[in-house]
């Protein structure tokens, strides 16, 4: 049987405000436990929540960026459940009238196509505290620093059809919220968390299968693995004659399996109702227009511009546009070197792997855009070959200065004087007289590989500095002649 996978995602993004959504407590990550928990955050009787304007502005900004209807009259509701890290006994959230309505995102896939994914809604709510179950001898420790941190929960339509598409969607959201400056996107610190709703159905069937929700998956890699693992589990279950039960599951990356947390039948009835402590939020047109005016160029627009302006592929353009810092770096290199494809290649491949190896972000890159641009100029004017450029790049990365300084100091300038190259070639051919004989005796088909041998020897003899194109041409005429 052919199965189709159906995935919808709920992404919680912590908004990058200074203070909490309903209180004046700080939101700094990693502070001493409970030093950022005020009477409001502790759920003490008699306190009143007051909504943070910045959280509203950020939510609106997100809504405009995904072309969504903005709920200009939106309402907060209480979602009731018991858990010690939720001291009020309810979470202030939004139910009937969220701040962001239906919108969409265009996500670039690896095969170079673009897929449109619907966003059902996005609503404001408060984060809960943290429970620490270890090391307290039968007790659980509660840290309420996180309680009341503003969250924007972004709910997608069940539009994704593979784990890879789901990851591409999360990456698109991740890039977008960072572009907008509304969330730092730090998944390891929980600033962006993902719940995955997964179901399978026989290909061609219109109705959805029963879904399971995998809670709190916190890295791109784990999202892909968790979904694939869950899909396998559901298909095996059904093919063995079983039935998927709707439930909440947790992904265990160590065992690469998902485990049931609780069944939805046993789940809480959240008893949502409008929060009497908060009045309806009205967003005026003037506020909307002010926010709209502050929207930066967004990833899809940047990607399209990179394609049109620089002739890059969809994939290259979307990789480069995936973060504002990387796009700025790339554009600076192009402005210096003038060759967009060469620049794209160096930023994505050489710089990318250097950053990867050293675990750095692009704004911490040991090679500046000015340095890289300067080096590409030397490739273009034939001062150095692409191969020598890698040596120069490494030297720049270890702080040896600009490309020109390194080329000069290390004597890496490419030899383009044909007399000098010719002399090197003559010497090399004389030392390999036997191979020259064989080459001349060989037929056309075999000569290709043998020619490569001579090129290698010549480059070695010139310490890599001979211009490869000239070596090729001169060598050919010498061997044929």
């Amino acid at each position: 049987m052919q199965w189709e996978v159906v995935i919808g995602l709920e992404i919680h993004t912590q908004l990058a405000t200074q203070s909490k959504i309903f209180s004046g407590s700080a939101t700094t990550f990693g502070s001493e436990p409970n030093t950022q928990a005020s009477l409001v955050d502790l759920g003490m009787p008699g306190v009143l929540p007051v909504l943070n304007q910045e959280a509203v502005r950020m939510a609106v900004m997100f809504g405009l960026a995904i072309d969504a209807e903005i709920g200009q009259h939106n309402v907060f509701a209480r979602k009731n459940y018991f858990y010690p890290d939720l001291p009020k006994g309810y979470q202030i959230s939004q139910m009937e009238l969220p701040i962001v309505g239906k919108g969409y995102l265009d996500i670039p896939l690896e095969d170079g196509t673009i897929k449109r994914v619907g966003v059902t809604r996005a609503h404001l709510e408060e984060d809960a505290g943290k429970s620490l179950h270890e090391e307290f001898n039968g007790a659980t420790g509660i840290d309420l620093n996180r309680a009341g941190t503003p969250l924007l929960e972004i709910v997608s339509e069940p539009d994704m059809r593979s784990a890879k598409e789901a990851v591409a969607y999360v990456k698109t959201i991740h890039a977008l919220v960072r572009y907008l400056g509304i969330c730092d996107g730090n998944m390891a610190e929980g600033s962006l968390r993902c719940d995955c709703n997964v179901s399978v159905r026989p290909k061609g069937q219109v109705e959805y299968g029963t879904r399971c929700e995998i809670k709190n998956v916190n890295s791109f890699r784990f999202i892909e693995k968790a979904i694939n693992t869950e899909v396998r589990r559901q298909i095996e279950l059904i093919e063995d004659g079983g039935k998927v039960i709707q439930q909440t599951r947790l992904y265990d990356p160590n065992k690469d399996e998902t485990r049931a947390m609780r069944s939805k039948e046993e789940a809480n009835d959240y008893r949502y109702f409008p929060d009497p402590d908060l009045l309806p939020v009205v967003i005026e047109d003037s506020f909307l227009n002010d926010v709209r005016a502050t929207l930066p160029e967004l990833p899809p627009q940047k990607r399209e511009r990179f394609q049109a302006q620089f002739g890059l592929s969809v994939y290259d353009a979307s990789v480069l546009a995936s973060s504002r810092e990387q796009a700025d770096y790339f554009e600076k290199v192009v402005s210096i070197a003038g060759d967009a494809k060469l620049a794209a290649n160096w930023v994505m491949v050489e710089l990318g792997s250097l950053l990867n190896k050293q675990g750095l972000e692009i704004d911490e890159a040991p090679v500046t855009a000015e340095q890289l641009g300067g080096m590409l100029l030397r490739i273009k004017d034939n001062t150095i070959s692409g191969k020598i450029a890698k040596t120069v790049f490494e030297a720049m990365a270890s702080g040896e200065g600009s490309a020109d300084e390194i080329i000069d100091k290390r004597g890496l300038k490419q030899v383009t004087d044909s007399g000098a190259i010719s002399a090197v070639l003559d010497e090399m051919l004389a030392a390999n007289a036997e191979q020259v004989e064989q080459y001349r005796a060989a037929d056309e088909a075999k000569r290709g590989k043998m020619f490569g041998f001579f090129v290698g020897q010549a480059m070695k003899a010139s310490k890599g500095k001979a211009n490869p194109q000239q070596v090729n041409e001169l060598l050919k005429s010498k061997l044929e002649g």
Partner: protein, 95 residues
């Protein structure tokens, strides 16, 4: 809609209420009488009437995004039954 005794037991469980056996019939009756009132209100024609989110004819005031709270952990934790290393301690819960 009338609640059965089993419904009341389930609601009590969800609300973390420990009802004693003897109270169940009375609680069930009381809840059913509240639902009766709800039924009476449901019967009112509300076509074209916008749901009321709040009885006050006013909109939410917003505050500026400024940190105004200072750390008062010691004062707050002095009334807590159990604390350790700055954490509030509660009976162990694992979901």
């Amino acid at each position: 809609m009338a609640l059965e005794r089993s419904d009341v037991e389930k609601i009590a469980h969800l609300a973390h209420l420990d009802l004693v056996e003897a109270d169940l019939p009375q609680t069930t009756a009381a809840l059913n009488s509240i639902l009766g009132l709800a039924d009476q209100m449901q019967a009112v024609n509300t076509d074209g009437i916008e749901p009321l989110a709040h009885p006050l004819e006013a909109n939410q005031r917003l505050r500026a995004d400024v940190v105004t709270e200072v750390n008062n952990r010691e004062a707050y934790q002095s009334i807590a039954p159990a604390v350790e290393n700055g954490l509030y301690l509660v009976p162990k819960v694992i979901d």
